[in-house]
Subunit: 700 residues, 2 copies
């Protein structure tokens, strides 16, 4: 359990010192004091400026030490060279919350920036003082009209807690999250980071959805643990930027964050119940979706539309986001066809325009919505209606009709999409009642419903509850005793794999031709012969692999050829002999591996063998260790699943056994931090189980 | 060349008859006359209503025949049963343009609907009268304030011509295309369709970009030819709905359109220079992009940003859409670092906030924009700036600064992205000058720049100019004489393939064991033996394939086994003997095939062999025939390209020879309409060329 720190002084300060605030005010001066006064904050404010006097009528102190009152929060915007000393003064004064707005620390390209970053860290170490920033716009709490930013921006108050690594996400919250409740820009994260802020948002009853903007993480595993605790209480949405290789380089230089491999982030989010969004523009509607609708039990969607063409768009979107077009029950069809013109059949989507024109639009909307929502084969509805006229004058204004009908079906989400010049006004009217969400397009409606369903399904199945590391040493290989420097293991790797419970091919080391003949006889032909040498990693390339040796004569010939060719190809290689393995054919070749991610630690990689993994990029990642269920999900994420489960009349492979291998390798990686890389390649998946044919491992 | 019909009476009528217009007016009555009067149309209007009298002060005629004046356009909204007769009256009256708004024809689920559809078609056949609809909102021409729709909607006038199959796209043009110049809902397309309307938009000088909403096409090839003529003059954007399997079913029932396989549509658009958009929301910004910027010479993007975090988003988007982050020249870097703080290096993205705060934001924006646009390594720029305050009061309002700087670099697009509450006002200010486009997000900016680059690159390379069908009979196989009903060919298929210029494996039919021995000796071991029987299509499954036969003894044994096993597996199968082929190994197995698409005719399919094509869905489509360049593009679209061009140290395959096979098969399909399906599987791609090992064909 993470120690929970008290962030109240940051988000709800009773008194604020503004250290380094300028006496210049007005447009273009970006004066924090002016912004705080304008925003309507009701606490005490103490400007600090070396020249004293008063700023905008508020008396200024020459130093924070001169303030005789108690101060909850200090906001520092002095030149960067003064910051470490001022932080020290805040510590002396007993201020427990400090925001450093000033730039040029770990975000700077010079050494002085990093040195002063360390000085700030040292100044608060072991004290009760915590720091947000440097290089931050600080915090915003719309519930008490407080923000520490020097920019003027306003945004509507919504039950969203936003934690970001760049001030732009607070300043542009209107565009991104659709408003804000409480927000914080953690900037360079010299001290307070994602985990503490997430815990704070989780405990704050005004916050219903948590949003994260992540460029990089400092402790991926602690972050995952925190997310797993919080996600059953409140959904967490994450926007990860720096996802491209180039963006990742830009991220590293932006706030000193370490940007990790994008697929590992996706895996980690998935394993912690965090909903990843592809772009900032998806946050606003998804937030409103999550706080408006109580739940969504399945993925069968009913579409009620004023336009056949729009209905088609809705069905396309439904399919794109993995939802299903519901099949209406005969009773539902009957209710609709009762009012439809004679020449028109009813189905899903239901085009209500002709019926609406003939019998009154309000009546038909209410009837269609009510019968479709009552259909037990429907889990949610998208209703498409126009917004041509101002709602005050519009005969097609069905806001009240929809709200009244929907209120009778609180367990099923009804999504709305309007088109036409007045859609914004309609959306605002619906937003007031908070019974339905008005979406910008059928695509975004289906996307949000899909994420809503997945979130509630995850909570129901407790899919965020995953395994934790078993006690270290449960597989004690004493690998750390092997070497001080990184070492690549070949044959030994297969031994280690086997000892942790993954079946490996029957293999024997023969140090002479005679011994090879004897051992091959014991193993049984056909056999595979591989050179054994600590100096040869890529055996095939060195001519050190012979497959399908079917007789003693062939074996002897192969042995002699290999002993002749290897010294030519790899001069000076120490040859320990040859490794003999039973020839194993049939089955599907997969690759199972692992590596250390700088942010998340041990990570498992699974994919098809051969050229599939490389060319097709058909691989799945998980932060290790994993549960059996996660392992199965991992297999299902790849196309390998289809092949193993029997495409093209091939014998099916044993998914259960494969999942078990993934779990075992995950445990090994979790327990043995010395293993920095491992590849089981190929791992053969057969109907009766799995068998590792070769492995490589790097120990550090 | 398509015959160009005169659509002026539809889009710019001097006089309009409104047949079937109701005497009920006011909100909720959807009265066409009222809408036309309200919109400010200046032509003559003749309402037609059986009761006569006057409607909204305009005298009404009892029948269209009673109108003594000449009428350019008739708009029919009578009940459907009256429509065919009224259309006939319009023909008699000599009205050349008729819009049928009424629903319930080929869009209906009853037989009467289809019958009356045919009656309309018959009524105008051979006359000068053309029909738009039925089931349509008709036309809109914002340049003369005319629209035939019964719905009240207004939209800004932009140089976009919009042709759609559902009225919603006109009514919601503000949301979709960002406004409209001239638009038409072709509805059920009983007569006037995409091709004529595209030709009209191409000739209309007020239209700069053409937009299409397509559910299905009636003549895909003529459509492609028209698009190829128009695309060098004006860009064409297409939104194809009904792209999912379910959406496609919904599309078929919506407007009687035939929805084709989605990938074939993508291929056809690509081959005709049409830009396909994934969603309706992409149209507006892409339209503005295409009419604002003159050209874009390359894909190297410079990013100037007020926020490091936003810069990362921009770089992510740049990478996502296939653009490149430009490397600035040393002179550009020097200019930037001259004004940047000492602790900050300059690069791309260039974070101008600290310099802007220290030295004046306007000055720094102008300096950065000017130096980056002047950099010869930069093809376009994205500039990110805030929009917190009303532009009238905002010290960060750089609209004029940007416009002045950008005007000096007319050959390079500058894209803008603002964030903050006043972004809409800033966008409007920029839109007035039409020098830059203001985007909703860095993602949409990069997406649009990417499409802009691709469009101009295509025009420059004349990539829309593709091959046309060679004269029929250039490969005359007289396939049509084979049979009246569909026939599946096996061995004969390989002969046909070979005769059209695709190398096939050396193969001989042996009708006895002795002959098999003799022929195998001639071919040379190892050989492959396959059963030859008109009754066996899937030879492997029947035990009718033996690979790698390396000696006469093996051959004889295999022959006897096959002759024993086949009659057991396929009782009664007529056995003609065995086919002997040279064993060919090494090389990459691909599948090359073709089929008849109901909308586009012959279509080529190419992909990796084995399980790749099926499981990985790694296939490319093209409407046949194709040029060599298109064939190479087709190969490059698949992962097969990487493998053939030498992944994993494999010998490379001959891309040139493979492309030649694709061209040849395309010609065969184009010339022989009897071939409805063909599969060359596998086609082996080797360094020295390609060789077809097996083929199947269906003739109809």
């Amino acid at each position: 359990m993470t120690e929970i720190i008290n962030l109240e002084p940051f988000f709800s300060p009773q008194s604020v010192a503004l250290i380094g605030v300028s006496s210049r005010t007005g447009p273009g001066t970006f004066n924090v004091l002016e912004q705080i006064l304008n925003s309507g904050y009701r606490g005490k404010i103490y400007p600090v400026n070396p020249r004293g006097g008063s700023i905008l009528g508020v008396p200024a102190y020459r130093s924070v030490k001169d303030i005789s009152h108690s101060v909850d929060l200090a906001i520092i915007s002095t030149p960067r060279s003064a910051v470490p000393e001022v932080v020290g003064q805040c510590v002396e004064k007993g201020i427990t919350a400090v925001i450093v707005i000033t730039q040029g620390f770990s975000d700077a390209d010079d050494e002085a920036g990093q040195r002063m970053h360390n000085e700030i860290v040292e100044a608060v170490r072991g004290t009760a003082t915590r720091v947000v920033g440097p290089n931050t716009l600080g915090v915003i709490n719309n519930f008490i009209n407080f923000k520490s930013a020097f920019l003027e921006f306003t945004t509507s108050t919504v039950p969203v807690g936003f934690i970001c690594q760049s001030g732009i996400f607070l300043a542009a919250a209107k565009d991104f999250t659709g408003g804000i409740g409480i927000g914080v820009d953690i900037g360079n994260t010299s001290d307070v980071g994602f985990i503490e802020c997430m815990e704070y948002m989780a405990q704050n009853p005004l916050i219903k959805v948590i949003n994260l903007h992540i460029e990089g993480l400092q402790n991926g595993r602690r972050f995952m643990e925190a997310a797993r605790r919080i996600t059953p209480l409140k959904p967490i949405l994450a926007l990860k930027t720096g996802s491209s290789e180039e963006g990742s380089r830009a991220a590293s230089s932006h706030s000193g964050s370490l940007a990790g491999e994008d697929a590992v982030f996706s895996a980690a989010f998935n394993q912690s119940g965090i909903i990843r969004v592809a772009g900032a523009s998806q946050l606003a509607e998804l937030n409103r979706t999550l706080w408006t609708y109580g739940k969504m039990a399945g993925k069968r969607i009913g579409v009620i539309t004023i336009s056949g063409g729009a209905g088609i768009m809705a069905v396309d979107a439904c399919s794109k986001y993995g939802l299903q077009t519901a099949s209406y029950a005969p009773e539902t069809i009957a209710v609709l066809e009762e009012v439809f013109p004679d020449w028109m059949k009813a189905g899903n989507p239901a085009d209500i325009w002709p019926a609406g024109m003939a019998r009154g639009y309000h009546k038909i909307v209410a009837l269609a919505l009510n019968s479709v929502l009552a259909d037990s084969g429907v889990d949610a509805v998208l209703c498409i209606t126009p917004a041509y006229l101002d709602p005050a004058e519009d005969p097609l204004n069905i806001v009240d009709t929809v709200n009244e009908t929907v209120a009778k079906h609180p367990d099923k989400p009804t999504a709305m999409w309007f088109f036409g010049p007045h859609k914004q006004k309609y959306a605002e009217k619906f937003n007031e009642a908070e019974l339905v969400v008005a979406y910008g397009s059928p695509e975004s409606a289906m996307y949000c419903l899909s994420e809503l369903y997945k979130y509630h399904n995850m909570i129901k199945n407790k899919a965020y509850e995953t395994t934790t590391l078993p006690p270290t040493g449960s597989v004690n290989l004493k690998l750390s005793t092997l070497s001080a420097a990184p070492v690549a293991l070949n044959e030994k790797a297969l031994d280690i794999i086997e000892s942790c419970g993954i079946p490996a091919v029957n293999r024997r080391l023969a140090s002479s031709e005679d011994e090879a003949v004897k051992l091959a006889g014991e193993i049984g032909y056909p056999v595979v012969m591989k050179i054994s040498s600590p100096d040869i990693t890529h055996k095939s390339d060195a001519g050190g692999v012979r497959l399908g040796i079917s007789s003693e004569a062939e074996l002897m010939q192969a042995y002699r050829e290999m002993m002749e060719i290897i010294p030519q190809k790899v001069p000076g290689a120490r040859i320990k002999g040859v490794l003999l393995q039973k020839s194993v054919s049939e089955g599907t070749e997969v690759i199972l591996g692992g590596k250390r991610d700088p942010q998340f630690g041990p990570v498992l990689v699974f994919g098809m063998g051969g050229i599939y993994a490389e060319i097709m990029r058909d691989v799945a990642f998980r932060v290790a260790p994993v549960t059996k269920r996660e392992a199965v999900e991992m297999i299902k994420e790849t196309k390998a699943y289809k092949i193993i489960s029997g495409a093209r009349g091939k014998k099916t492979g044993n998914i259960e056994a494969l999942a078990q291998c993934i779990v075992k390798l995950g445990e090994l990686l979790g327990n043995q931090p010395e293993i920095t890389e491992v590849d089981i390649n190929p791992l053969l998946v057969k109907p009766e189980g799995c068998i590792a044919l070769d492995a490589r491992m790097v120990i550090d």
